[in-house]
Amino acid sequence: MSTTRHLVNRQRRLATVAAERTAAPTPVRKPVEPSTVAEESPDEPEQQEEEKEPPSGRPPRPRPRLRITLPAVLCALTVLLGAFAAWAFTSAATLNDDPGRQNTALTDIARTSEVKGQITEAVGAVFSYNYASPAKADAAVKKYLTGKAVQQHEDMLAEVRAQAPKQKLVLTTTVTESGVELLDGDRARLIIFADQSNTRTGKSEETTYAAAMFAVDAVRRGGAWRISAIDTFTR
């Protein structure tokens, strides 16, 4: 069907090879069916359009199109991929910044039980007071309280401290329930339900019980949780 065309193509191919040897970069062409576009070397798809032009006898010259089209394609790709990357990172950050996710109460089981245990112990220690050993209470304050909580605790226990020696007072606080409301890295907020027993051993022994509920802010320093603020819900 295309014997003559085959020859023409062969001549063109030889001419092309010759041209490439000298200077010009051009694709190697293969025989074509009249109706189809020629297959190209895979590196240069931009040249497909050229194929439709009527074959000319002279060897093809380097085309400036090549240098513009490839960068253009790359630019478009860069913009598209860049836009996707920007969207993906923004979207991931939005998801991760959700306050519910920042809060690892219960989701981080180890940390949750660590802060619960240590704050339960801290509350029991700093809200207990024995007239016979005030030094123990001072040591507990140093160990378990920090920041604003130091002053808040001092105000709360001022009366107990003042009356303790005279009334031979023993205050014992036991945490009955605690729940981690917020846990975010080294910060936490817990709700505490506690029972307090207040025993006066002065003249006649007398014990009163009180129910307490409050929230504490806690911070973790050097592996240990300390109470940084006490919220008694008064305002």
């Binding site: 790359l74 790709l77 990357a85 991931a92 989701t107 014992t172 329930e177 029972d195 929230a215």
Partner: protein, 176 residues
């Protein structure tokens, strides 16, 4: 040969570097977006927050009642509960209506703070503790304000989390 010439073009070389960088960023971004969207602990955190919100609302509902809007109030009690607790409320409703109509009290509640203490995502069970301030206004006398330490058990239903048990934290015998 053609390729060699092309990559020697500084513009094309730069464009290739940029495109590869953009592809890398897109891949990385896609992975972190996927991880963010399929985070198990984030899903669990969402369940926890849903349970807490429902629990706080239910505890507040259960401590709110206006004798002038008894039907509405008691409907909201029944809406907030499930299981035995729900059944108790339904069974005791008539007697309770009589009681409140005589006392003519208005109770309002404010949640001070709340936390989920336990959560079984699969079983659909959760425990909540809520610090509550309740104000009860009777026809005579000043409103009485008291703080309540509420402990509730939640059960997940097709209609969201509902209270299956509710009570005040007991006082007194643990300390000392």
């Amino acid at each position: 040969m053609a390729r060699v010439r092309m990559t020697r073009n500084p513009l094309v070389a730069a464009a290739i570097v940029l495109t590869v960088a953009a592809a890398g960023a897109a891949g990385w971004g896609g992975v972190s977006r996927y991880q963010a969207a399929h985070d198990d602990s984030a899903a669990y955190a969402q369940v926890r927050d849903d349970a807490l919100a429902a629990g706080e609302q239910a505890v507040q509902n259960m401590n709110t009642l206006d004798h002038e809007q008894l039907a509405k109030g008691l409907d909201s009690w029944e809406d907030s509960t499930t299981g035995d607790l729900h059944q108790q409320l339904v069974d005791g409703r008539d007697g309770f209506v009589k009681q409140i109509q005589e006392a003519k009290t208005v109770s309002t509640a404010k949640v001070l703070s709340g936390a989920v203490t336990e959560l079984d995502d699969r079983a659909g069970k959760a425990g909540v503790m809520v610090a509550l301030r309740v104000t009860v206004t009777a026809p005579k006398g000043k409103p009485a304000v008291k703080e309540s330490r509420m402990l509730g058990q939640l059960t997940r239903t097709s209609d969201g989390w509902k209270l299956s048990a509710l009570g005040q934290a007991p006082v007194g015998n643990t300390a000392g």
